[in-house]
Symmetry: none
Subunit: 417 residues, 2 copies
Amino acid sequence: MKAEIITIGTEILLGQTLDTNSAFLGSSLAGIGIDVHRIISIADSPEAIENALDSVLESTNWVFITGGLGPTKDDLTKGVLTRYFDDELVFRSDIYEHIRDFFSKMGRSPNILNKEQALFPKSAKFISNSRGTAQSMLWDHNGRKYISLPGVPYEMIGIMEDNILPYIKDSQKTFLESRYFMVQGIPESELASRLKEWEDNLESPLSIAYLPSPGLVKLRLTCRGKINSSSELLKKLDHESVKIRKILGDDIYAERLIGIEEVIADLLIKSNQTLTTAESFTGGSIAAKLISISGASKFFKGSIVAYSNEIKISELGVVKSDLLKLGAVSKTIAIQMSRGIKEKYNSDWSISTTGFAGDDPSGKLPVGTIWISISGPGVEWAKKFTMGSNRNRTISKSTLTALNQLRIFLKNQDLGS
Amino acid sequence: MKAEIITIGTEILLGQTLDTNSAFLGSSLAGIGIDVHRIISIADSPEAIENALDSVLESTNWVFITGGLGPTKDDLTKGVLTRYFDDELVFRSDIYEHIRDFFSKMGRSPNILNKEQALFPKSAKFISNSRGTAQSMLWDHNGRKYISLPGVPYEMIGIMEDNILPYIKDSQKTFLESRYFMVQGIPESELASRLKEWEDNLESPLSIAYLPSPGLVKLRLTCRGKINSSSELLKKLDHESVKIRKILGDDIYAERLIGIEEVIADLLIKSNQTLTTAESFTGGSIAAKLISISGASKFFKGSIVAYSNEIKISELGVVKSDLLKLGAVSKTIAIQMSRGIKEKYNSDWSISTTGFAGDDPSGKLPVGTIWISISGPGVEWAKKFTMGSNRNRTISKSTLTALNQLRIFLKNQDLGS
């Protein structure tokens, strides 16, 4: 089954609003085996709406139209669709009742514009909206279903979850499942060449996609087929997952759509250990990522952002003569920093970062040189990275790299004794 | 001039990735007078790409195609477009040179897949990408321009800003200029009602747009007209700008598209003062924002992320009995924290934050209660905010609010003596 989405709203074309409605529809429809094969965003104009309806693809079974159902002047969808389907608007007292109830719950009365919202196309099916006054309509036209939904995400999601998704799910017969493999620190092209041989032998109905973002690649293995062969399809998915795991090993940090900080949180909470950070180059970004997790106080004690050398010396116990001799961006200083914060804040593990976002003032090290150090039970480790010249990207890549290094240490530590 | 956007990527149809690329293109093209009148998102399949190209609207002058230019097998765009335009791929040593340089800067070598990225369609114009290895192509076909851009937002934005937007701007014969007014901490609806009277009297060719993001609203005042009346149009723009300034006063933190941290950096560098932060609730986010500025070491000394009470007491000099009596989320503790870090790290100014991202364990304070405190020359200030229940939004709103409060103190301080 295939669906198309038509999003009506000039604010999307102007880039003022992100089209989160289509993302919700795409992911929730995929979850019940319906393939969104096209999304069209157009302006609030009758011509644009008619044109989009005319251009619906032959193979489309469902058309979801969002937006333009509100009470104001620029909400045209109901009128345009009614004309398009040769339908006519009639006043529905049951709908008006609902609108009146809705307002009275908020201690208000409907105005004349809200009364017009009770006009409803005669041959469309009425789909109720418990979260607002814009009513949803369904037309069955030439064997294809057209559903018009409000553009307000909260109302649209409510109608989909309460009424439309359960209805479609019941009528479906497709199997569709995906597995995710999250990888940090390996560029997409390198990952692709490591997986090349495996990928060349991958056969339908399985497929793989690379979804990159700075410092990360999400790998998605998808399988789709008939619902009555689902146990066989699941076996195929498991079989290929084993192969991916074998090729990428520890480079996979998770098999769900989560950040590395969540994996670290789990590992630390399980082992009942704590973490601190001493950040120069990353300037608090590692701490901020850890604190974004609900329950961070269980494992994260705190951080020192030691941007000046003065603070590195006085607060982290960095040795002044080493700093003068070796420079702040050096293995020795990185280790002194991670050791310093670990002792001072009395944590089990610690991360430190020190580097140049811009050029090395002495001209000796390349732009974007950074040292990351990790201290922990029996561990005192440091490594140099070259992260490129874009300041914000370099900081965010360094943050992910540091967290991923810690993940590997945590995963491999022997808690046997 | 009208543009269409074709976004290629199954991850958008599946709702796994939000189409931020189209939002960027929509808003930046609007900024130079080009109207995006349709956005189409389609799957990574040759048929879908060809079909989308076939259906480009008659009135479209520019077609922007994003996605599918990476080095992996699911990146089909280059091949499909080359076939579509009856073109052929040739190996370009200059492009390969660029790819090699790009990799060598990061201490790596290109692999065989990267070498394929140096194949380029013969009759397309080459548009260079300083941020990656995916090359951008421009075809001029039947009086319409087709531009293929990488889907990675960072690379796409770089190519647009460095090469394409300036090129289009130069070729336009219209006068189009915008002024920006950046406002923090005032909801869009409140801002709109403060500006209502002025806006009701605003006349063509001037227009105003509200561009909201969490905690911020960018106001854009735009004027467009004929290039030969530009001096008169500029005068109108200046005239209305004066009125906006009068209405919003100090609530405007900048008249350029910059973050508050950049305004603070300027003010601190000018007054030769330094800043530190003591962050509990914001967990390093304020420090991270400050350090994202090149040259942050001139004014930012460092930060303590004091997530545990133990560290608040031992490192920031918070009084244990006050903490037990009043709780960590209180005016007294907020002030002790900002005072503590200011003294310990010897800075002129300091910011502290303390709050609950989740529920108050004691049940006394509402979810999202946060205290922000600022200490500085003759200043010891604290204020309570309620920021809502979404953890990440609350942290980022608090970060902006704290920075904006500091901005006001810095702006109004008397440096006369």
